[in-house]
């Protein structure tokens, strides 16, 4: 049974949307994805989403009585997990057509209660007492270790932001589009040494949705799911086993490549969740595209930039396109656009795209291998 993404769309706008609640963002994205798929809510019998509002509220608001629900909440990679779980559920006969939605008022915080991390939680006891202030001071903690062990330089770290801005420059929907230099990055405000502002992701409002179903049920432009993988490592960054590599990235990537039966040379286009500039560096190495310590020079030499041999984060990524807080949905959306030939910065002839999602601070990961050809 060939599983496909039969519809994919984002909210009408991304960025600063104080006039829209979290639920509205979900529902606008859902309606857009249904329209994109040429379907109605009556075609949907499965709903997957993360956080509040969850799959029950989304299904109810749409007028769907689902046969299958998934509320897997593993941070920004949740939507990649949902696609994988939906594929398994459809193959198992539990449902036929799944709506995966994301909406997040990450910037405006409208209808978005922030979950409180109690002082008796794991993070409350062993990380919050040290003055961490969310991802900018936590996700970033691994980088100096990586730099010492591999020789990655501050300039090479800055090159990640520069490379992705080259793609954003070609994308009218990207929040930041002006070209930048390494000097600009290194001169931007220090957030948490060694990370400058331009090496940290945006904080935006927005949403996106996908329709996952069988090839037979798809009505237009199906994008095939060739393989997928998922994994998790430590719930708190300080207990990640090795600060220079993500076990969850490695394991999810190996599973997805094995199921798809592809090699790295087959990959035309790549999306790697980029909450901060070092994450694509880890992703390139942990997925096996380059050897350990080679990702920084690889990006700095332009191989992931427009015209390069491995186009990476072609929407501009979380650093320049959008980042609601759970960016994985937007990484999938860009892969779908590239495979349909509809991307703003289109990679000519892209046939196989790989998406690596991250959740939390290197906590969870999932990988999807997508193609515009049948497996």
């Amino acid at each position: 049974m060939n599983i496909v993404i039969a519809g994919a769309a984002e909210t009408d706008e991304l960025g600063k949307l104080p006039h829209m609640s979290t639920a509205q963002l979900h529902l606008q994205a859902a309606r857009n994805a249904l329209a994109d798929a040429g379907m109605t809510k009556d075609d949907i019998d499965g709903v997957a989403t993360v956080g509040v509002p969850g799959p029950i509220q989304i299904a109810h608001a749409l007028g769907v009585t689902p046969a299958w629900l998934d509320g897997t909440g593993v941070g920004g990679s949740s939507f990649l997990f949902h696609v994988r779980h939906a594929a398994a559920a459809i193959r198992a006969g539990l449902c036929t057509t799944v709506l995966v939605t994301h909406g997040e008022s990450g910037r405006s915080r409208v209808g978005a209660p922030r979950p409180a991390l109690g002082p008796d939680s794991l993070i409350g006891q062993f990380e919050l007492p040290y003055g961490v202030l969310g991802p900018p001071t936590m996700f970033t903690l691994t980088a100096l270790r990586y730099m010492k062990e591999t020789g990655l330089t501050h300039e090479q770290l800055a090159e990640v932001a520069v490379a992705q801005r080259r793609w954003a420059h070609l994308n009218p929907r990207a929040m930041f589009q002006d070209l930048i230099t390494v000097e600009d990055v290194l001169a931007s405000r220090m957030v948490a040494y060694p990370f400058h502002l331009l090496e940290c992701c945006l904080v935006t409002d927005g949403g996106g949705a996908l329709i996952v179903t069988t090839e037979e049920r798809a009505r237009r432009s199906p994008v095939h799911l060739l393989g997928s993988g998922e994994s998790a490592e430590s719930p708190i960054i300080s207990q990640m086993e090795d600060f220079t590599t993500s076990a969850a990235f490695r394991r999810s990537g190996e599973a997805a490549f094995a199921e798809a039966g592809i090699s790295h040379d087959d990959v035309d286009h790549l999306m790697i969740y980029d909450a901060f500039a070092h994450v694509p560096v880890y992703g390139l190495e942990d997925l096996g595209f380059v050897k350990r310590g080679e990702a920084g020079p690889f990006i700095a030499e332009g191989h992931t930039s427009p015209g390069g041999r491995l186009p990476l984060n072609t929407n501009g990524g979380g650093l320049s396109y959008t980042h609601t807080g759970m960016y994985g949905m937007f990484a999938i959306q860009e892969s779908v656009r590239q495979l349909r030939g509809e991307a703003a910065a289109q990679v000519p002839g892209a046939e196989i795209s790989v998406v690596l999602g991250n959740g939390g601070m290197f906590a969870s990961a999932a990988t999807l291998v997508l193609s515009n050809h049948r497996p």
């Binding site: 109690g118 002082p119 008796d120 794991l122 409350g124 006891q125 062993f126 990380e127 919050l128 007492p129 040290y130 003055g131 961490v132 202030l133 900018p136 001071t137 936590m138 970033t140 903690l141 691994t142 980088a143 100096l144 270790r145 010492k148 405000r189 220090m190 957030v191 948490a192 040494y193 060694p194 990370f195 708190i236 960054i237 300080s238 207990q239 600060f243």
Partner: protein, 140 residues
Amino acid sequence: MTASHKPVPKPTPETQPFWDGTAEGRLRIQRCRACARHYFYPRPACPHCGSDDVVWVTASGRATLYSYVISHRPAPGFEDDGPYAIAVVELEEGVRMMTNIVGVEITPQNLPLDMALRVVFERRGDVHVPLFEPAGGPVR
């Protein structure tokens, strides 16, 4: 040392021995008697081999600097600290924990990775949190 406005951890049954230790000026971690490895954070069974034959031991308090960031945007309670180091240190016993580096002016030059550190304790409310300073003692 006191720092009354900084976040105060709230012990749970499985972590209480750790916090009882810090209140006595001891850094206690768990060791598995089946595989002889130490582990942290506190859990009822060994994450390496799964055995629940585990005991609390007092660590030496000696550590090295594994990685860190220097936060330039203070969290609540840290407003008076200036840029401060959020660090992960590796204890002599092989486990790692998050902490702050104290007793030294916080600059990248002063904080080379793998530098030798030793534990000190800071009282916050009813709890003492472990912090680390250069093993040579405070440099001010």
